[in-house]
Amino acid sequence: MSVLDKIKGIEGVNVKVQRDNRIFVDVKEDKLISVLYVLKNIGFNQLSLLSAVDRINEEQFEVFYVLYSNREKVNCIVRTYIPRDNPKLVTAAIIYPPAHAYEREIAEMFGIKVEGNADAGKPFILENFKGDVPPLRKDFNSMKYVNAHFQPFRHHDEVELEAKDE
C-alpha cells in the first residue's frame, strides 16, 4: 500500500496531490492532533516547518505543518484553519518535539494561543517591540509603526536649529 493510499485512508481528511512527492492534507482543527499522530506512525518522522498565514479576507488563520518522510522521500503538508478572533491551537510538541519552538514563534508573531505549551506567549524573538498588534498579522500597519517608533532622521544640525528657533 502506497503512502498516498494510507493518507487517503485517514478519517476526516481532504487530500490534494500537487506532485508525486508533495501531498496537501486539509483537516479540521479538532482532528489535527490525531491526524498528525497517524501520519507520524505512517512514517512522516520529521517536522520541517510549522507556520501560519493570515487569511484576513476569510477571517481565519491557516496553520500548516510541513512533514517529511525519510523512508518515502515525500513531503506532506497538513493545513488547518482557525478563526481569526480568538485563535487557539493544541500543541503538537508531544508528537513532534521541534514544534515547541515553532509554536512559540507563531504565538508571538500572530498572537495565536497554544494550549499545552507552557512557553507559548512568553517573549521569544522580538525585543523592544512596542506595537499592540502582533507584527505578522495583516492588519498590523508596519509603516505607521515605523513612523511612530523609528523617527525619520533629523541631522543634529537641524535639531540645534529648531532649538534656536523656539
Binding site: 522580538l126 525585543e127 523592544n128 517591540f129 512596542k130 506595537g131 507584527p135 498590523f140 508596519s142 509603516m143 509603526y145 515605523v146 517608533h149 523609528f150 523617527q151 525619520p152 532622521f153 533629523r154 543634529h156 535639531v159
Partner: protein, 170 residues
C-alpha cells in the same frame, strides 16, 4: 607643545593612521557576502593596510553591513562604545542608509546615523568590492584631512544620539 608643532603632530599621526586601518566587520546583513572577495586574493584589501580584526578594542573601523534591526542595534552600540578613539564607522549598503528594502519593517531601523555617527556610506544593494575599495580610499583621504571626525561628533552630540537610542531600545 606650541600650536605649530601640535598641528604637525596631528598631520603626521593622521598620515600614519590612514595606512593601518584595522577593521571590525559586523556582518549581519546580506551584503556581507561581498566582503570575502574583498579580503582575499582577488581584490586583496591588505594592499591598503586594511586588516579584518576580531575584537572591538583593537579595531579602528566598525563596518556595519546592511540592515540593522532593533536587536542588533543594541549590540552595535555596545561594540561601538567599546572601541578606542579614533574610530570610524562605515555604513555599508542602502539598508544602512535609509532602510533599503526594509524601510517599512517593524524591526529594522531606518537610518544608522541617527544612532551612531557614520563617517562614510557606500550605496548599493549590495556594493561591489570595487566600491568597497573606493570607499576605503575615500575614508583614507578623509582621515588624512582630519574630516573623519565621527567619534568627536558622538561626544559633542551625545544627548542627541542617546535620545534616539533610548527611543528605540526603551
Amino acid at each position: 607643545m606650541d600650536k605649530m608643532t601640535e598641528e604637525q603632530y596631528r598631520a603626521i599621526s593622521n598620515m600614519l593612521r590612514k595606512r593601518s586601518l584595522w577593521m571590525l566587520h559586523y556582518c549581519t546583513g546580506c551584503g556581507a557576502m561581498e566582503l570575502p572577495p574583498t579580503m582575499t586574493s582577488r581584490y586583496d584589501m591588505e594592499r591598503f593596510g586594511i586588516v579584518p580584526y576580531v575584537t572591538p578594542r583593537q579595531a579602528d573601523i566598525l563596518l556595519v553591513t546592511g540592515y540593522v534591526n532593533v536587536k542588533t542595534l543594541k549590540r552595535i552600540i555596545t561594540v561601538y562604545e567599546q572601541m578606542l578613539d579614533p574610530k570610524y564607522v562605515i555604513g555599508f549598503g542602502s539598508c544602512a542608509i535609509n532602510g533599503g528594502i526594509y524601510y517599512d519593517s517593524y524591526s529594522v531601523i531606518n537610518r544608522l546615523d541617527a544612532y551612531i555617527p557614520v563617517d562614510v556610506y557606500i550605496a548599493g544593494c549590495m556594493p561591489r568590492p570595487e566600491a568597497i575599495i573606493t570607499m576605503f580610499k575615500h575614508l583614507m583621504n578623509l582621515i588624512d584631512s582630519g574630516k573623519a571626525d565621527g567619534y568627536k561628533r558622538y561626544k559633542q552630540n551625545y544627548e542627541f544620539y542617546k535620545n534616539n537610542q533610548r527611543k528605540v531600545l526603551g
